[in-house]
């Protein structure tokens, strides 16, 4: 359980984190989504006591981070996988963490295995690691103390698609065991793949939060049929909206069952029927990034998405 309450951090006249409030629940993976420089990392650093907030509070398991007697046993943290002494081997870094937490020696080998780092890789110095390997080592450091809460800043950076899938399964399993996961990303896709709940931050302020379904669904239904025009007309006759997409599918504000029923009544075969992809979150996210991104989209063609 992570509770962040009216948290603000100001640097002179610049407000990095502006009155941020949210909760990450146990049993859920909470995605912290925002463009670079939105205040994600600052919020996470405040959460683990590396930065003092200007106002507001952050609690983990009902306590401030500094009140945890042996934090690694209760909260696993990965803030920056590259922030390690390059001259140490992966195994040594993990051993230092294990010894600090007072864990058995065997935990090092077990955790290396859990994050799929081989014996040979663990014996290499970290300066020779790829970013993906550093992320795995960082996740190992976070996991080794068998914590209740995981705080991971951009953990999917540098992971290949198989690595992202591995991490999704790992975090899913962690949350299913009752753990709380807060992970940040600047990529909507990563968060979509991994998170249950999403908190969107931009310019230090929370701009949206809710479950993935709430934020991603547009409330519309997407249907494909052999005769899209007839399906569209039938839906309109039933009092719903209907649009034909460029790929020959129908978008309607009717819910799934209604569309199915209408198709059935009209005697049309549906080849696809699902909730339409929400453009809302992506649109909002693009607006957030518009000020800082290099490639200005003069005419954003959202239909293509």
């Amino acid at each position: 359980m992570i509770q962040i309450d009216a948290l603000s951090k100001r640097y002179g006249r610049f407000t990095a984190v502006d009155n941020v409030t949210f909760t990450a629940e146990p049993g859920r993976v909470t995605g912290f989504l925002g463009p670079n420089g939105a205040g994600k990392s600052t919020t996470m650093r405040i959460l683990v006591g590396l930065t003092d907030p200007s106002s507001g509070s952050a609690h983990l398991l009902g306590r401030h981070f500094s009140q945890l007697p042996n934090p690694g046993r209760e909260v696993g943290v990965l803030l920056d996988a590259s922030a390690q002494h390059g001259g140490r081997t992966g195994r040594e870094i993990l051993t230092l963490a294990a010894r600090t937490m007072g864990l058995a020696k065997s935990s090092v080998a077990e955790t290396l295995d859990r994050v799929s780092l081989t014996e040979e890789e663990a014996g290499r110095r970290v300066r020779n690691y790829s970013l993906g390997m550093r992320q795995r080592l960082g996740i190992a450091t976070a996991l080794i103390g068998d914590p209740e809460v995981l705080i991971l800043d951009e953990p999917a950076n540098g992971l290949d698609p198989a690595g992202i899938r591995w991490m999704r399964d790992l975090l899913r399993g962690f949350a299913d065991d009752g753990g709380t996961v807060l992970l940040s990303s600047h990529l909507l896709h990563e968060i979509e793949v991994i998170a249950d709940d999403i908190v969107v931050i931009g310019n230090g302020r929370i701009v949206a939060q809710g479950t993935k379904q709430e934020l991603l669904s547009s409330g519309e239904t997407y249907a494909r049929s052999s005769d899209p025009t007839s399906l569209g007309r039938a839906l309109q006759r039933a009092g719903h909206t209907a649009e034909l997409t460029t790929e020959g599918a129908v978008l309607s504000d009717a819910d799934l069952t209604t569309v199915g029923q209408v198709a059935f009544d009209t005697g049309l075969v549906l080849s696809e029927l699902r909730a339409a992809d929400g453009a809302g979150l992506e649109e909002m996210f693009l607006q957030l990034t518009a000020e800082t991104q290099r490639d200005h989209l003069e005419t954003p063609e959202r239909n293509a998405a």
């Binding site: 650093r45 590259s82 209740e148 009752g178 799934l256």
Partner: protein
């Protein structure tokens, strides 16, 4: 109230499962003992290639200093003090570097991010580093003294000399104190700058540039020539290599407060309060 809401899409079943959400029963872990933190900090001084060789260089240098003394000093003039002064100089360069890096490597390599999330009490980590630094200083001098003594005994046996042990335990203790002061100057500069290059440069400005400035000033200004030992820690520390009077101890104390204690308080405040990025 119990209602069933028909959501447009079912939520992830696993995430909604109240069974899964039940928090695992677990005991509150015991606090991390200070000895364990000190052990970790000692291990960190050796577990990188650069750290290991810096430590190894202490042994190598005391061996080399002993060998050089045996080879180049006439048998008639050979005494234990000759050995001691041979390893004194390299020690006074390497030991402060070890102290600087004990602090700054956390920031330069940014491993402080991990260190201070595993032990949020930064004061405990810094105290552990200080303790380990002090111990390394004492052990280094002890090793150098032992290597020098063994070398001297060996050469005395071969050349049939009567060994001259003209360094008392008090003198050895004073030399150890002098090198500890050098180390803690490095440690202090490390906390002040939290960057390896900046702290190392600052240390050499203190140890190599300032004495020259001070003696230049002393040669033109008689007041400074008479009173500099109160304000110049290099100068006050040099006295430790001779017999110390009460006045010299007082001077060492005053100069240490100015150069070591006060800036260390500033440095500690910075370490404890500043943002770790």
């Amino acid at each position: 109230m119990s209602t069933t809401t028909l959501a447009p899409e079912p939520a992830t079943p696993a995430g909604r499962n109240p069974e899964a959400v039940r928090r695992r029963e677990r005991a509150v872990p015991a606090p991390i003992p200070f000895g364990r933190i000190a052990g970790i900090e000692l291990r960190k001084m050796f577990d990188t290639r650069s750290g290991f060789w810096l430590m190894a260089s202490l042994v190598v240098l005391s061996l080399a200093a002993t060998a050089v003394t045996i080879i180049f000093v006439d048998a008639d003039n050979l005494d234990y003090e000759g050995f001691a002064s041979a390893w004194g100089m390299p020690m006074s360069v390497v030991l402060p570097m070890i102290a600087v890096l004990a602090v700054t490597s956390e920031w330069s390599a940014r491993s402080a991010l991990t260190t201070f999330t595993l032990v949020p009490g930064r004061g405990r980590v810094i105290a552990a580093k200080a303790l380990v630094t002090a111990v390394v200083g004492v052990v280094a001098i002890a090793v150098a003294a032992a290597v020098g003594a063994l070398g001297y005994l060996g050469v005395a046996a071969i050349m049939d000399l009567d060994p001259v042990w003209n360094i008392s335990f008090t003198e050895l203790a004073q030399v150890t104190l002098a090198s500890e002061i050098g180390m803690f100057m490095g440690f202090m500069l490390g906390t002040l700058f939290r960057s390896s290059p900046a702290a190392i440069v600052a240390y050499f400005v203190y140890a190599l540039v300032l004495p020259g400035v001070s003696s230049a000033l002393a040669s033109t200004n008689t007041w400074w020539a008479e009173h500099a030992t109160w304000f110049d820690l290099n100068w006050a520390t040099m006295n430790l290599y001779s017999e110390m009077t009460d006045k010299m101890w007082a001077q060492l104390g005053v100069a240490s407060v100015i150069w070591l204690v006060v800036p260390m308080l500033v440095g500690l405040r910075l370490v404890l309060r500043s943002e770790v990025k």
